[in-house]
Structures are given as structure tokens and as C-alpha cells.
């Protein structure tokens, strides 16, 4: 099966894990798949990873739009994970 390398840009509370993470996913994976894999990836990398719920509560943006859980991510898009917002 064809795979794609998806670079996920980090914002807010995810900055403590760096500016981005790149994951290999089967082509056609959804936003939900991406979030699940990111949680597993960070949990495997960081002992006691505390932010699985934060990943579930976060939105995913592809290029300049927030997309829903069934949206198919593509490696040619700018993918960002957006934790709950608190500007002002």
C-alpha cells in the first residue's frame, strides 16, 4: 500500500514537543487516523506522555482550513494540529 509522509506542524501546548513531527501513514488516511497515530507516536517516544486527551481535543488544519475527522490528509498540504485556543 502506498504511504505518505505527513508533516504535522505544532502550535501552542504542542510546542514543548518541537515545531513539527513527520509521520508515515497509508495514503488516504483520515484526520482521525492521523490523530490516533500521532498520539501513539508521541506516547512511544515520551515516557508518561500526558497529552493524549489534548490531541483528541485538538483540531487539524490542512492549508488554510480547519477540517473534520473524516477528511483525507495529503502530504502536499500544510498540516497543523491546533490545540484549544485562548487568544486575547
Amino acid at each position: 500500500m502506498k504511504r505518505e509522509n505527513i508533516k504535522i506542524n505544532f502550535y501552542g501546548a504542542f510546542r514543548k514537543y518541537g515545531d513539527h513531527e513527520t509521520l508515515s501513514l497509508p495514503a488516504g488516511s483520515s484526520v482521525g487516523d492521523l490523530k490516533d497515530l500521532l498520539a501513539k507516536h508521541l506516547a512511544g517516544k515520551i515516557p508518561g506522555f500526558p497529552d493524549s486527551q489534548l490531541i483528541r481535543d485538538s483540531a487539524i488544519a490542512c492549508d488554510d482550513a480547519v477540517v473534520g475527522p473524516h477528511y483525507k490528509v495529503r502530504q502536499d498540504e500544510r498540516v497543523s494540529i491546533l490545540p484549544p485556543v485562548c487568544g486575547g
Partner: protein, 150 residues
């Protein structure tokens, strides 16, 4: 006078209230309502010295433009709306956000100003990292842009 009735700014430079008022002003308007959010020295019982604002700039600009467009519909008449948000590290007392709204009468100006700041906090992809005097820092909780499990 600028022709577009709204203006949005995200910047790492100091915010300028007079610029906001100049943009919101119109000879036909009798009201300019403004809101200035500033960094305070405490939060939930902890002493703080600064806040760093992280911003997804493209999406934040889009969110502010959408809010301005919604505000202009709310006005149901002539109005001008200015919204600026800071990016980067700000010390206590520095302005993090400025909203200014000009309308013919005060009621609409107040209402739109409140709408803008309330919705900016809930919809603009901006995050606060609070720096405490004890030396640690924390990213503050906020509003999910997407409901869990949606």
C-alpha cells in the same frame, strides 16, 4: 480614509490604539468603542511576569476577517472595525489585543466590540504561554476549534 470597512493585524510590534481609532473613525459616526486586552501580573493565584502568544497566522487572519465580516452584518448599517492581536512575548501591562469599532451610534459600537473580543477568544487560533515569576511556564487551556469525536 481607507475604503475597506475593516482591518486586521497580527504583529510582533507594539499595538497602537490611536491607529485603531483613526481606522474606526468616520465623519458620519458618533461613536467609537474600543477594547484593549493587556497582560496581567497574575492568573489563578500565581504571579506572572509575561505571556508569549503563539499564532497560526494564516488561520488567525482568516478568523479575524470572518469576525469583522460578521460584525459588519450585525451593524445593519455603516460601521468600521479594526482588530489587532500581538504575537510573541509581552510583559505585564503590554497590550495583547486591540479592537475598535466605529458606528453612527454607541449601542452598535459597544455590541460589536464585545462580539469581536468574545469570539476572537473562542475562534482565533492563538495560544498563551504564561511565564510565572517562580520560573516555570504553562500553556493555558482554551476552547476547542473542533468538538471531540466530531
Amino acid at each position: 480614509m481607507p475604503s475597506q470597512p475593516f482591518h486586521v493585524v497580527i504583529t510582533d510590534q507594539p499595538l497602537d490604539l490611536m491607529e485603531a481609532h483613526r481606522f474606526a473613525a468616520d465623519p458620519a459616526f458618533g461613536a467609537i468603542a474600543s477594547f484593549v486586552g493587556v497582560v496581567r501580573n497574575n492568573n489563578e493565584g500565581r504571579a506572572a511576569g509575561a505571556v508569549t502568544y503563539d499564532v497560526h497566522e494564516t488561520l488567525a487572519m482568516k478568523a479575524l476577517e470572518e469576525l469583522c465580516a460578521e460584525s459588519l452584518k450585525m451593524a445593519n448599517g455603516p460601521a468600521r472595525v479594526y482588530a489587532a492581536h500581538a504575537r510573541g512575548r509581552l510583559a505585564v501591562g503590554e497590550a495583547s489585543v486591540i479592537i475598535a469599532v466605529g458606528t453612527p451610534h454607541r449601542k452598535a459600537a459597544f455590541e460589536i466590540c464585545q462580539f469581536m473580543i468574545d469570539n476572537l477568544k473562542e475562534r482565533a487560533p492563538i495560544w498563551k504561554n504564561e511565564h510565572y515569576l517562580e520560573g516555570d511556564n504553562a500553556w493555558l487551556a482554551g476552547n476547542s476549534l473542533e468538538a471531540p469525536g466530531k
